[in-house]
Amino acid sequence: MAGNAVGLGNFLRFPVQAIQNGGGAFIIPYLISFVLLGMPLLWIEWSMGRFGGTKRNHSTPFILDSMTHRPFWKYFGVFGIFTNIAVAAYYCYIESWTMSYVYHSVIQTFSGMDQNQVAAFFGNYVDIYSSTSGIPFEAVFFYILCLLLNTWILSKGLSGGVEKTAKIGMPLLILFGIFLAVRGITLGDSSAPAGCTDCDASLGLNFLWEPQYSALTDPKVWLAAAGQIFFTLSLGMGTIQCYASYVKRKDDIALNAMSAGWMNEFVEVVLGASIVIPIAVGYLGLDWVKNNAGFAMAFQTMPFLFGQWGAFMGTLSSVAWFGLLFFAGITSSLAMGTPWMGFMEDEFKWSRNKSAWSFGLITLVMGLPTVIFFENGVFDEYDYWAGTVSLVVFALAETIIFSWIYGIDKGWEELHYGADIRVPGFFKPVIKYVTPLLLLFVFTGALFTPKNNDWKTALQGNWELDPSSIVGKITHKGIKWNRSWFSDGFESEASGTVLKVQNSTDTKWTEIQIGKPGIENEEAVVLKTFRLKNVQEVLVKAGDVVLEGQILAHGDFINPRFYLDGARILLSLLFIGLAVLVYSATVRRTKLSN
């Protein structure tokens, strides 16, 4: 289970979430979430899974059904299959980056590149129309290759073999992680490029660990912290239940859940926090990191670090790092295939081969948009709805079912059956009251977060939603201009002076930069950069003053909202499709029992 839990989230997602949510503002809610949400939910999910297994149910819809005997909760269990497929769709893309970076390390692509070139390489890589290696549609190629590998392993039932190999790979990853963490902590400003004043690894560590108590009242940060805890521990996904449903009745779950959970936290909080952020800040500066935080950060920085260690050691380290990351990733993505396979094998008597390849096909259909439209925000949209919100919603349902419908006393007994440790009694009321209340607080707070997180004004009656709230996201409150899917005029999203109008060399796009021009020795401040495709006529030139909403260019434009809505429609269709399958499985069961 540690192999499943330790994955790309530890090294790549955690630093991003920490940076995007204020560094030290994030770490305290994160740690509290681990104790009050993560640990209780690990026990809840292991108990639910093993209980479901005794009734020969290996998928969350019917595990929930066996605990509640109410159809409503069975359909809630759809989340336990949906989330796995939706997350696997974009998770495999990150996994494919690690695979591709192993290849590029071997062929010495990064040799001689400076830090900015390494960072720019990633941008070229995810632009599917360009190729960094001569392979056409390189990003798509590696994505499909990675998904094929996952599907093939699942179809052959080799995941056990992968788990066995992980027993060697995981310790290696941890050892290499310790080595890199020491480097991250001790890097300081020794590698700062000339002229970079904030390139100091200790600034990165300070940003992450300087506590900011004001964030404790920000539901958005709590949602992100809880989401990260769920993502990293694979909670609220249905994966743990699926695994635990195959655990023998008398086997321990209480101690194993803790061991896997704490091992994951070690890799995340001790290693994950000490590698990417300090190293990225050390080479690129704190401002760059704050402005460019994303899953890609490790790919934009680590090859340069390895490049400093000479050709042989650099290549070896780069292959080891990305190779081990790939390994950590694939143990998790394989686990994401098991709930769908368990469901189809249990309910429709599909063979392993058929269920594995169908998983691969659905994941491909769901995942290709995240690859092709990565730069249009589809990937992030999946991560928000499937990798954050869905996890919290399903986790809330699980705690209610376990504590209030199945009953905390029966649940506590189930947890301790065959247990090698006694869970402290303190956790019993935590599981019954604190965990669901905290989840409810996090969810409703994030659902209706008031503008600028100003709860005082909101509670006085002036409740304007923040664009980052869930309702704000649903209604695209953050998108003020270019709100239609398609348009023939592009509206400026900022007021200021046009700093630059530039066509790409292949005339595929036009870049328009809006900002404040520099006065005397001051540098210009860029407020917004628009990269427009299919431009027919640009209406502004450098030096023009423009206002928000003013048309900058005519052409055939596809606005970001189209991609965001497209992603949501795909996710909704997946959920509805799975709910229909659960309904047919129920009908099938009823027929068989008659």
Partner: protein, 43 residues
């Protein structure tokens, strides 16, 4: 790096390392359960 940030980092990372080690050690020293163990028998 400020003193507060340093203390929080050492405290958190130290606690996580110790607890990880503790639970890992508990798993290692727990003897395996006697076989056969089939929950079908208990249904």
């Amino acid at each position: 790096m400020s003193v507060t940030a340093f203390i929080l980092m050492v405290l958190v990372q130290g606690t996580v390392t110790i607890l990880t080690g503790y639970f890992f050690w508990r798993v290692l020293r727990t003897p395996p359960k006697a076989e056969p163990d089939s929950y079908e028998n208990e249904l």
